[in-house]
């Protein structure tokens, strides 16, 4: 009987490896789930891209849910995500706020005028320090923050129509159900 132990152990191993292949084909292997889901978003005070004198704080955005989309002019994939945002921004039901990450303002503005601006407003985080508090580690990323300032959903990678249908819209709908 104990002669079968190595074989059974291997069957377990093969199962694990098979799972790994399946999992890899449907998930981004480099995506790390955020530890901030269902936790308060960090406090922030960031200038607007178009008007650096105006500073937007977390407190000023409380009361209504909103989407925070992390993007940058140097980010290739953001360029692929952008047409989707241009098409769908109006249909989310919540404002889409842009978060310009580690970018020179001139570059960001040029990029937006070239590709279009779907954002209700754009915050500029030149140094990336505030983004670290959000746990941002690349672009594009998108956060859904509710009326009380709690992060409810994070998308790592670009928003695609499929992701919007299957993940983002249900999350937004759930928020609406809590506080109509």
């Amino acid at each position: 009987m104990n002669r079968l132990v190595p074989f059974l152990a291997f069957v377990l191993l093969a199962g694990l490896l098979g799972f790994g292949i399946w999992w890899n084909s449907s998930h981004d292997p480099t995506a790390v789930p955020s530890p901030l889901i269902d936790k308060p978003a960090p406090a922030f005070a960031l200038p607007e891209l178009d008007d650096p004198a105006k500073v937007v704080t977390k407190a000023s955005l409380l009361g209504k849910p909103y989407l925070l989309n992390v993007f940058a002019s140097w980010c290739y994939v953001c360029g692929e995500e952008h047409p989707v945002l241009m098409a769908e921004a109006g249909q989310f039901g919540v404002p889409l706020i842009g978060y310009n990450y580690k970018d020179a303002p001139a570059d960001a503005k040029a990029w937006l005028s070239r590709h279009g601006n779907p954002y209700a407003m754009v915050l500029a985080d030149r140094s990336g320090q505030t983004a670290m508090n959000f746990g941002v580690y690349g672009a594009p990323e998108t956060y859904l923050i509710d009326a009380r300032g709690i992060i409810r959903y994070k998308r790592i990678g670009p928003l695609t129509p499929t992701v919007i249908r299957t993940q983002l819209e249900p999350a937004i709908a759930a928020l609406k159900k809590e506080a109509p």
Binding site: T30, V32, P33, S34, P35, L36, W74, K102, A104, A106, D107, S127, G128, Q129, M132, N133, F134, G135, Y137, G138
Partner: protein
């Protein structure tokens, strides 16, 4: 006016170039003394780069890694302990950022598994040795002299 635009453009260009040519992991920081530098090196070598996920924070060329290293340095200057610094990063990036997995219920298999395997193997070896040594004493009892004559000595 034109010059300011030119400077801005050059700065933007430099920034873009800096992003293209990898921001290096070589990053002289103003340490107070060598002991602090060694502590920093030890700490950053236990943290994982979120961007180049197969490198430590100490070795990664990524821009975010540089930011995180500077943050670690800043926290060290503020007097935080290693545990507090690690907790700061875990709060933002999850356990993934630690190359030293914390010992908690979901990593018990990882930390104690090898010792369980060692114990199981040790029992198996003990049983084998016991069986063989019994066979040996049996052989010595029933056929005196053969057991000793039988071994090769230290011959090869």
């Amino acid at each position: 006016m034109t010059r300011r635009w030119l400077h801005a453009l050059l700065a933007a260009f430099a920034l873009a170039m800096a992003a293209a040519a990898a921001a290096q992991a070589i990053d002289p920081l103003p340490f107070r003394d060598h002991a602090q530098e060694v502590r920093f090196q030890h700490l950053t070598s236990q943290l994982r780069c979120m961007v180049c996920q197969n490198e430590t924070l100490a070795d990664s060329n990524a821009g975010l890694a540089r930011d995180m290293r500077h943050k670690v340095f800043q926290l060290m200057q503020q007097g935080k302990t290693d545990a507090q610094i690690k907790q700061y990063l875990v709060d933002r990036y999850s356990d993934f950022v630690l190359y030293d997995p914390p010992v908690q219920p979901d990593t018990w298999l990882l930390w104690f598994g090898p010792f369980l395997i060692l114990a199981a193997g040790g029992i198996a070896v003990a049983l084998v040795v016991r069986r063989r040594s019994r066979a040996r004493t049996d052989m010595a009892a029933t056929q005196p002299g053969t057991a000793d004559a039988d071994d090769n000595g230290d011959d090869w």
